[in-house]
Subunit: 136 residues, 2 copies
């Protein structure tokens, strides 16, 4: 971030927890993740109407979540929202958080990840990946 | 998810915290978010090399984070990764988490959000949004 943590707290009144995520407060405030690596993958299934293929991919991602450097993950599917800017054409979303780039690098070559690709890559026809670090 | 929480824990040995996110354990296990709405926006700046415009957008997003229904957010920029499937052409990533669809709906019409769009929309030339709910 371009401001320091102290400045951010001063400007917004929001607590910022660096390093680890984030015990969500019960007081309806937003929380910012810092020093994180977000690896977000969108899969388009070869057979998007196949419940079986979708279930296979979800099961594969659950197994993939065992990779130790993944700090947090969400397995998603398109919400019912629709506006011009929304791409809801994908089948499955795999949103993951790592502590840093090297942790994400090691995930890429983790045997669990390689096995996931081996077992599941025939299910999809297209993948888009967005990797993000803290904006500065 | 297509399996119950009990099945998931049984299958993976991972703790699953539903409802709220997730105090990250110190024991290097991954944590799954459930019953969440992930709203992930990628912005392409009109002047991608303008540090000033980038800083303006980041400042706008920090103000936007004051919306009460945002449970968690990350303001990102492309990581240094590069593979064929990675789209690193965007300028800024805005990853947000809500408790549910109605909370995200109310964010869209929140005065803070409308003001953000008014103040910052001239900065970008393209936006892609992916909205995800738990895969079932």
């Amino acid at each position: 971030m371009s401001t320091t943590r102290r400045e951010f707290i001063a400007n917004t009144g929001k607590a910022v927890v660096a390093g680890g995520l984030i015990t969500l407060a019960e007081n309806n405030t937003s929380e910012m993740a810092e020093n994180k690596f977000i690896h977000h993958v969108y899969f388009w299934l070869k057979n998007p109407d196949s419940k079986e293929d979708k279930a296979k991919l979800i099961a594969g991602l659950k197994k993939l979540s065992a990779v130790k450097t993944i700090k947090w993950f969400h397995i998603g599917e398109p919400a019912a929202t629709s506006r011009e800017v929304i791409d809801g054409s994908y089948s499955i979303s795999w949103c993951t958080m790592f502590d840093n780039g090297p942790d994400q690098d090691s995930y890429q070559t983790d045997p669990i990840h390689l096995k996931f690709v081996e077992e599941c890559s025939s299910l999809w026809t297209k993948v888009i990946v967005y990797d993000s670090i803290d904006a500065k």
